[in-house]
Amino acid sequence: MSSIHIKLKDKDCQTIKEICESFNNDPGELINILHKAQEHFGYLPAEVQETIAQNLNISVAKVYGVVTFYSFFSMTPKGKHPISVCTGTACYVRGAEKVLEELKKELKISVGETTPDGKFSLSCLRCVGACGLAPVVMIGDKTYGRVAPEDVKKIIEEYNS
C-alpha cells in the first residue's frame, strides 16, 4: 500500500468553499453540504471530504462518519447510467430479487459496483413509490415498470448502442 498525495484542483477547492459558504460554514448543515458536493462531483472522494472538514472547521473523521452512515452518499463514482432496483416490499413480493440477480449476471457486477467501462453502476433503493408498477428499475431518471427478468437484456441493450 502506498500513500499518495491527491490534490484537488484549485477550482474544485473553490467550489467546495462556495458550497460551504452558501450554508454559512455551519457544521449543522453538513448533510445539505454533502448533498450539494455530491451533486457537483458525482460522488464524495476523500479529498472532497477533507476540504469540507477544513472549511467547516470540524474533524474529517466526523465527516467520514456521516458519509458512511447515509446510504445516499457514495465514495465511488457512479456509472454513466446508474441503475437502481427498487427492493421495497411491494417490488420484493412481485419478484424484484430475480430482476436484480439478472442485472448482476448481465452486467457482471455486484450491488454498489460500477462496470469497468464506467457505463453502468448498480444499486438498490427502498421504495420509489411506484408500487403499482412493481417491480421497478430505474436507469438514470427513467423508470421501467413491471420488469421481468427476461426484460433485463433488452433494457440494457438500449444503453449499449
Partner: protein
C-alpha cells in the same frame, strides 16, 4: 434540589432529583452491571450513550426494560434490578456481544484485565447460543497504539476521550448497523491521522480493541544479547502506579522494589528519568528566564508565555492543530529524550560502550513516548537515542513473566551517574509539577535568594484549567496550567486571541498529568486511583533530601564535565529540538 421517593427491589429510598437509577441503586448497595458506561467524576467526564444495554432494569409501568445508566428517577418510581426477565436479557445481550467478538482471550493483551471478560463471567455466560458472522477489520499497528477493531464492542468510550475530552477528532463512529465501528477518517491507520498517541482511548477501552504496541519482546531480545549493554530509565509516575499491578493499594510507592526488579530482569544499569527531569528544568528554566528578562527589558519579539514541552502527546497536538504557534513552546526536549541523548554520548563514554552497542530502554506511563522515541530527529545515523519505550503495564507483564512479584523484593537504589534526582524531578508526574519544579529553580536563579518554602500549593490540584500567581520577590508571574488536550486547546485559543496573559504555561496531554497516562495500570473508571497516585508523588517529593533541580549533584557534575552550562552550544545540540507544521498532511491511501 428536591428529593424524590423511589423503590428499588422493594427498598424505599429518597434521592435527589436528576439521579439515575444506577446511581440510586449504588446508594443502597445494589450493584447493576455496566459496560459502556464510564464516569470519571473528578475529571468531569461522563459517558453514557446507553448503547450496550447491559445495565437494563425493570421499571414498573414501563413496557420495555430501561437502561439504568441514563434513566433518571421520578417520584414514585419502582425499580427491580435483578428479575429473571432482566437476567435473561442481560445474559442474551452479553451472548450477542460475545458472538461478535473473537475468542482470543488467551493471547489477548487484556486477558485477565478485561471488562468484557469479567462481565461475561459475572453474568454466568458459559455458552454462546447465537453464533454467526463476526466483524473483521484490518489491524492498525502504529508505533504506539494497536487497533484491533475485531474486538470492538462499540462502547464508544474512545470516541468520547478522543473528541470530547482530548478534542483530537481522530476517531468517529463509521458505517452503520452490524458494520458500524469506531475508526479514523477513511479507515486509515492512526499514523496517518492527527493522532497524538496520548493513549487515553487505550486507557478507557474495556476490551483488547485498543492496546499499546508491546515492545517487551524486543527488550527481552536485547537483554538476551551478550553484545549489548542494556540500560533502563524509569519515569516519575511509574513508581507510584506499578504496585497496583501486583495488588498493592493505589498510591503505594515502590521505587526501590522497581529498581530491584529491573536489575533482576538483567538490565546492566538502572537509571532514573527523574534525573533527566532535573536536567530539563535546567534547560527549560534557563530558556524561560532568558525570554523573561528579554521581555522585561522591552524586547517586543520575544515569545511569551513559554509553554512546557516535555509531554510528547502535547507536542504532537500542537504540531497538528496549532502549527502557527509552534515557536512558543520551549525547545527543550522531553526528559526521556534528554536522557537518551546524554546516555548515548556522555554515559556511553563513561561506560566505555559504543553507541550502537548501548540499548536505552525507557519505562513510561505513556504511549506517546513510544512514538516520540521513533521520531527521526531523535536519531544519530539511524540509531535512536531511546531504543524502546515500554509502558508501566508492559513492565508489570515482564516482571510477572520472570520474577513473579515485586512485593518481596528488597528496596534498591538507582545506579550512579544518571540515577540521582531531586524532588523537583519527581513531581513531573503530576499536573502542575513541571511548572512547580521550574519555579523552584527559576526563583533562586532569578532572585539570587534561597527559596525557603519549596511547595507552590497554588499550582497544585485537579482542576482542568488553572491559573496562579507566583511571586518572584516582587515580580508577579502569571502561570497557567492545563491537563487534558481539550483544556490545552482552550488555553491556546485564549492565547491566540490575546485574551489571557501568562508568562509560562504547563500543559500535560493526559487528565491528571503523567499519573493518568495512557500507559498506566487501568483505572477502570475509578478516579480515586488517580488522586492516590498524585498524593504519592508529592509524598515522594517531600521525602527527598534535595528538592530543587539545580542542586542535583549529578546534574552539576554533568554540566561541569560535559555540557558546560545550561543553554550552551553543546546543550543546545543534544538537549533541544524543533517542531514541525504537520497540519496540511493529507494522505489519501489508494
Amino acid at each position: 434540589m428536591s428529593l424524590i421517593n423511589i423503590k428499588i427491589n422493594g427498598k424505599e429510598l429518597q434521592v435527589e432529583e436528576g439521579t439515575t437509577i444506577l446511581q440510586a441503586a449504588k446508594k443502597v448497595g445494589i450493584e447493576i452491571p455496566t459496560l459502556c458506561y464510564m464516569n470519571l467524576h473528578d475529571l468531569n467526564i461522563e459517558h453514557n450513550p446507553g448503547g450496550c444495554r447491559i445495565c437494563v432494569v425493570e421499571v414498573e409501568g414501563r413496557r420495555n426494560l430501561a437502561p439504568s445508566c441514563v434513566t433518571k428517577v421520578w417520584e414514585g418510581m419502582s425499580v427491580k434490578t435483578h428479575t429473571m426477565r432482566v437476567l435473561n436479557a442481560r445474559r442474551t445481550v452479553m451472548e450477542l456481544i460475545l458472538s461478535d467478538h473473537p475468542f482470543e482471550c488467551l493471547t489477548c493483551a487484556k486477558n485477565g484485565n478485561c471488562d468484557l471478560q469479567k462481565l461475561a463471567q459475572d453474568l454466568g455466560v458459559r455458552e454462546i447460543h447465537y453464533q454467526g458472522e463476526q466483524s473483521t477489520y484490518k489491524e492498525d499497528k502504529s508505533p504506539a497504539i494497536i487497533r484491533d477493531m475485531d474486538k470492538c464492542i462499540m462502547c464508544r468510550r474512545c470516541e468520547t476521550m478522543c473528541n470530547d475530552v482530548q478534542t483530537c477528532g481522530v476517531l468517529s463512529g463509521i458505517n452503520r448497523g452490524f458494520t458500524a465501528v469506531v475508526a479514523p477518517a477513511f479507515e486509515q491507520d492512526l499514523i496517518k491521522s492527527p493522532c497524538t498517541f496520548c493513549g487515553q482511548c487505550v486507557a478507557v477501552c474495556p476490551t483488547g480493541a485498543l492496546t499499546e504496541r508491546d515492545y517487551t519482546n524486543r527488550v527481552i531480545r536485547a537483554l538476551a544479547d551478550p553484545t549489548k549493554t542494556v540500560i533502563v530509565q524509569t519515569a516519575p509516575a511509574v513508581r507510584v502506579a506499578l504496585g497496583e499491578e501486583f495488588g498493592l493499594p493505589a498510591g503505594t510507592i515502590v521505587t526501590g522494589k522497581m529498581v530491584a526488579a529491573l536489575r533482576r530482569l538483567g538490565f546492566d544499569k538502572v537509571y532514573d528519568t527523574d534525573f533527566a527531569a532535573d536536567l530539563t528544568i535546567m534547560e527549560e528554566g534557563t530558556e524561560f528566564l532568558d525570554r523573561l528578562s528579554r521581555y522585561l527589558n522591552g524586547d517586543k519579539n520575544v515569545k511569551l508565555p513559554i509553554l512546557t514541552s516535555c509531554c510528547p502527546g502535547w507536542v504532537n497536538f500542537f504540531e497538528y492543530n496549532f502549527p502557527d504557534m509552534r515557536d512558543i513552546p520551549s525547545t527543550a526536549k522531553s526528559p526521556q529524550q534528554m536522557f537518551g541523548a546524554i546516555a548515548k554520548t556522555y554515559l556511553a563514554e563513561k561506560l566505555g560502550v559504543k553507541r550502537e552497542n548501548l540499548v536505552v530502554v525507557s519505562v513510561m506511563p505513556c504511549l506517546a513516548k513510544k512514538y516520540e522515541a521513533e521520531r527521526e530527529e531523535f536519531r544519530v545515523d539511524g540509531n535512536p537515542d531511546v531504543d524502546f519505550s515500554i509502558s508501566t503495564r508492559e513492565l508489570a507483564h515482564l516482571i510477572k513473566q520472570t520474577i513473579g512479584d515485586i512485593k518481596d523484593l528488597p528496596d534498591e537504589d538507582f545506579d550512579k551517574l544518571m540515577g540521582e534526582s531531586t524532588g523537583a524531578g519527581v513531581i513531573f508526574g503530576n499536573t502542575g509539577g513541571v511548572i512547580e519544579a521550574a519555579c523552584r529553580t527559576a526563583y533562586e536563579i532569578y532572585t539570587g535568594k534561597t527559596l525557603e518554602k519549596v511547595e507552590f500549593h497554588q499550582l497544585r490540584g485537579f482542576e482542568s484549567v488553572r491559573s496562579a500567581v507566583v511571586d518572584f520577590d516582587g515580580l508577579k508571574l502569571n502561570i497557567g496550567i492545563a491537563h487534558g488536550l481539550g483544556n490545552a486547546r482552550k488555553l491556546l485559543e485564549c492565547i491566540r486571541n490575546g485574551e489571557c496573559e501568562f508568562h509560562a504555561i504547563e500543559i500535560m496531554a493526559c487528565p491528571g498529568g503523567c499519573i493518568g497516562g495512557g500507559g498506566q495500570p487501568l483505572h477502570h473508571g475509578n478516579t480515586e486511583i488517580l488522586k492516590a497516585r498524585a498524593a504519592a508523588i508529592y509524598k515522594e517529593d517531600e521525602g527527598k533530601a534535595l528538592r530543587k533541580s539545580h542542586e542535583n549533584p549529578e546534574i552539576i557534575k554533568l554540566y561541569e564535565e560535559f555540557l558546560g552550562k545550561p543553554s550552551s552550544e553543546k546543550a543546545h545540540h543534544l538537549l533541544h529540538t524543533k517542531y514541525f507544521d504537520k497540519k496540511k498532511r493529507i494522505y489519501i491511501e489508494k
